[in-house]
Amino acid sequence: MNLIAKTTVFYLLVSVLVFGIGGYVTYHVVETEVIKETDFALYDEVQDMADDIRDGIPLEILRRRRASIEHLGDHLQIDTFYRFTDTIAPHPYREGETEPYRKLEAVKEVDGSFYHITITDVFIESDDIYDVVVEIIWRLFLILGVGMLIASFLVTRWLLTPFQRILSSIRGFNIKQSEPLALPETTTREFRQLNAFVSAMTERARRDFRTVREFSENASHEMQTPLSIARGKLELLQETQPLDQEQLRLIDDAQTALRRLSKLGSALLLLTKIENHEFRAQHKIDFSAIVNACIDNFEELAMLRGLPVKRDVNPGVKVALDPTLADVLVSNLVRNAIRHNQEDGAIEVYLDHEGLVIRNTGASPTIPTRDLFKRFRKNQQSEKSMGLGLAIVKKICDTNRLSVNYEFQDGWHEISVIFPTNV
């Protein structure tokens, strides 16, 4: 239930209460007024009668239905009074039914003579007043309800539209976007405050993200120079005399560690660049050529490890991908297939217009295959691997509408990259 609907329901509940109390009050006000007016009328009639008596009109003429006049006598020592009472009398038209009446009983002195006058008048039944009040209240309530529903609809349409637009702007916000979040203009103060708050917040998020991104990019990049220096120094150290076997091996081990560190830096830098969308697919490239060139590159290394590479590459497969990324993607997969292979193993590469499949033999994975796409997750036996190759593959696929799957079955690891179908 949205805000306006909730407000409407709340107001309707309040109106029920108000109308209830209002009805009760109205009923009593009307009833009091009716009694008052009836009493006035009865009183006026008594005064009229007294005037008529004074004018000498005989009592017989004045007597009529619901009015009785008795002459009590002259110069009596009694009090004159008016007394209003409610009474019940038979209904004039309906047999056996009674009706409430208002009765005025008065003892009045007219020119020294005392008269006892009784007048009754039909009294509006409280049932009738009740019915009328309920009827009125009910109609008012209906009008109010309909009015409020229409109003809430209009309010939602007109008043909350800026809010909806702000919401959809926020929903479309991406922390990686290069432009600040554009929020719709509004004249409502609350929405202006919301806008100011949201833009400050998103701007800050964007800035922080940019800082982190620049940091990781700069860090990976700046790392290479000192690493280069350190490796050079070790090489120079290696040339100094005399060095024994043990010292040379220590230098070599240090070189190995530095090489790993520098490769790690490059891999992280590449990941950051892919994340930053620094590679844009300008047009479709000949993926078949890239796959073939890549296998040619690695075939010798594969042979050195005793791994035959079987390939079935359909010519002319075009994919929208940056050529550098395409090369990184295929190289990483082939590298992976060579590295995580076994004695007398094999590698198979298939490419057609649906996708690229690279299969290799190897020990069964020690962690779930989908976890191997995460950074620094790798099988325990792979000491030399950094655990970033498949993370890079995954990142390239994610940013280029390719999907990638990893399956292990019957001693074969199979990674398939599926091309988008709507091309």
């Binding site: 290479q224 280069s228 490796r231 050079g232 090489e235 076997q245 290394l301 590298r335």
Partner: protein
């Protein structure tokens, strides 16, 4: 060989100078764009070692300047950026080779010598070491005036040894030189030994004495005797 190193990292310049000064290389260094420009205008060099990222300008502009004034000078680009674009642009502008940081000094040396040989006049492209003679144009190798037949890898290996003679070359460095950066995909570098063994055998056929010294468990060293 007269070499200009254009690189803003002093430590790196020191490394390169220290390594190369053991050979017959005269090294000069420029720390920034302006200094490099001055030197390139005033002197001629055989090879310029060019870092693309300089604090006060792009190395690619220096390359353009150099190629306009002295097209004979060889250029080896060194860059921390492994960006394909820079590489292609650099090579298009006339650079001879491209090396990504970090690199092995022995690899740098081999590349510099290769550029140097390519750019030298005819007749100077022959390397001689003891009884071994390599014509880098025709890729013919003779040992004690007897021609020997080497495979591509053996030839490259011999060339690498001769350009880095008297230096320790680890199996890793040799493997990377011959098979590229991805060579650590392999569990061991024992196959390097196979190639060395074959090379030794072929050199021995010519009656030449042992040049390749084994440093056990680590690598090899090509010596004068």
């Amino acid at each position: 060989m007269k070499l200009l190193i254009v690189e803003d990292q002093q430590e790196l310049v020191d490394n390169i100078q220290a390594y190369l000064s053991r050979g017959d290389v005269v090294c000069e260094a420029a720390r920034n764009f302006a200094e490099a420009q001055d030197r390139l205008i005033s002197f001629t060099y055989d090879i310029v070692l060019l870092d693309l990222m300089l604090p006060d300008g792009s190395g690619l502009n220096l390359l353009r300047l150099l190629k306009r004034m002295n097209p004979e000078t060889g250029v080896l680009i060194i860059s921390a950026k492994n960006a394909l674009d820079d590489k292609i642009k650099g090579l298009e502008l006339g650079a001879d080779d491209y090396l990504t940081k970090p690199f092995h000094l022995s690899e740098l040396n081999a590349r510099l010598n290769a550029i140097f040989r390519r750019r030298r006049q005819q007749g100077h492209k022959v390397l001689e070491h003891g009884c071994i003679r390599i014509d880098t144009d025709t890729r013919e190798v003779t040992v004690s005036d007897q021609p020997i037949t080497l495979t591509v890898k053996e030839y490259e290996l011999l060339l690498f040894f001769i350009t880095n003679k008297n230096r320790v070359l680890t199996k890793q460095v040799i493997a990377e030189h011959l098979w590229g950066d991805d060579v650590d995909l392999l569990d061991s570098f024992d196959f390097v030994y196979q190639h060395i063994k074959n090379l030794r055998k072929k050199i021995a056929i010519g009656g030449c004495e042992e040049h390749i010294k084994t440093i056990y468990g680590l690598g090899y060293k090509f010596t004068n005797r």
